[in-house]
């Protein structure tokens, strides 16, 4: 299977750099799959679980909000944070999820609502990714 180069960058570190044959990203309206030779696209990435396949083996990671630049022969993912399943603190993610859910039950202004929904999305993404350890 033909491969393409994938770079995952966050402000803190160079999360991943290497050749992959398949990439699936969480974007605004669902999941977005990328293979080599994809048309040029710039997409907004949402907080969620992403995966990429190296030599037939899937790798999982939770990412927060960011941007993906997809070209026929390479892709670059620019996100705020990215974590491997083994780096995720499950208890902490669970607590964050409960906290966000609790806050969403109360009435609040649109800004807070937005903050809470993104916090919830991040926590759910982490929990989901950590299952793939």
């Amino acid at each position: 299977m033909s491969t393409f180069k994938l770079d995952i960058l966050t402000p803190d570190r160079n999360f991943f750099s290497g050749n992959v044959d398949n990439l699936i990203l969480p974007i605004l309206d669902g999941e977005y799959g990328v293979e080599a030779g994809h048309e040029p696209v710039v997409a907004v990435v949402e907080a969620g679980m992403m995966r990429y396949r190296v030599d037939g083996e899937w790798h999982y990671a939770s990412v927060s909000h960011g941007l993906a630049e997809i070209m026929p022969d390479y892709s670059v993912l620019l996100v705020g944070t990215a974590e491997h399943p083994e780096e995720i603190d499950q208890m902490r993610a669970q607590r964050a999820k409960e906290r966000a859910e609790d806050r969403l039950r109360h009435k609040c202004d649109i800004q807070k609502y937005h903050n809470n929904t993104t916090a919830l999305a991040r926590a759910v993404a982490r929990l989901k990714t950590s299952k793939h350890l």
Binding site: P11, R13, N14, I27, E39, V41, V42, L67, E69, L78
Partner: protein, 292 residues
């Protein structure tokens, strides 16, 4: 000629100052190294971001966005221009604070309606003294810049821009060309236009048909804050490195001066001591002669 006691006191004073300047030199060289390492870690991310930005700009001709609005219907005399001035928190850094403040003050005096955002204590006290009104809520330290800090600054700036409190945003920072060559620089942040992003069009041809998901506007909405954060962080780190570098040079020079001074003082101390001994011997000898 000063007495031995006076010289000794002077030597002691110079020695303790030497200790301080030497310590400050070591501290700033350590901070500089740390800040540089941080900067290198972050650089690839924002470099890529800048590149994507230039990409979108040059491929989406009909982009309309609040951050691109040049606000042409606001007259020249009514335009409120925001200046972010990055200075140090402390002095004793050679001409670092002086240079940036002088350049910034000149441009502020030339503007009809300046809105000044100051970062760093030195700048704050300078503009207070000059009776220039600075934004009170914008309170940030320049010590060890972090991304988090840049995010807070970006939020404040974008809010002011969106509310129409300012129509343009510029930043004054110090660029470290080489460790010995520090230059105050002015950079435009908002509103954005194509000229801010130099771009080589011939480089890659298939990029002309880039698609944006869900739409160029939404992608742009996400890009701008990130981009601004990167710019602010870059300017903060650059200034911080410049400050440390300036302090290193200044402290190195004063350590050298103190050492020269000590040499001179030791010489005159020894002379005075020798003089005293000679005098004593002469006195004793003279005493003996008269007794004979």
């Amino acid at each position: 000629m000063p007495s031995i006691k006076e010289i000794k006191k002077h030597i002691k004073g110079v020695e303790s100052t030497l200790k301080i300047t030497n310590a400050m030199y070591l501290i700033s060289s350590a901070s500089l190294r740390k800040a540089k390492a941080n900067h290198d870690k972050v650089e690839p991310f924002f470099e890529k971001l800048r590149y994507s930005f230039a990409d979108i700009f040059h491929h989406s001709l009909s982009l309309e966005h609040p951050y691109l609005d040049q606000r042409p219907n606001i007259k020249e005399e009514d335009r409120k221009i925001g200046y972010i001035v990055v200075t140090g928190d402390k002095g004793l850094a050679g001409a670092y604070n002086h240079n940036i403040l002088k350049s910034a003050n000149e441009s502020i005096l030339q503007t009809k309606n300046p809105v000044v955002f100051v970062i760093g204590q030195m700048g704050r006290s300078y503009f207070t003294q000059k009776k220039v009104r600075v934004e009170e809520d914008f309170f940030h330290s320049t010590q060890e810049p972090t991304i988090r800090m840049a995010v807070r600054m970006r939020k404040a700036i974008l809010e002011a821009f969106e509310e129409g409190k300012i129509d343009e945003v510029w930043i004054w920072y110090t660029d470290m060309v080489t460790p010995l060559q520090l230059e105050p620089k002015l950079q435009k942040l908002l509103p954005m236009d194509k000229n801010l992003f130099p771009y080589e069009t011939e480089k890659e041809t298939y990029k002309r048909t880039v698609e944006y998901i869900p739409s160029p506007d939404v992608v742009f909405d996400h890009l701008v804050p990130e981009y601004l954060t990167g710019m602010l962080y870059g300017c903060l780190v650059e200034s911080y490195c410049s400050e440390q570098s300036a302090r290193m040079t200044a402290m190195d020079a004063s350590t050298k001066n103190a050492k020269d001074m000590l040499k001179q003082l030791n010489l005159s101390y020894n002379r005075a001591r020798q003089g005293a001994i000679t005098q004593e011997i002469t006195e004793i000898a003279g005493d003996g002669l008269t007794r004979d």
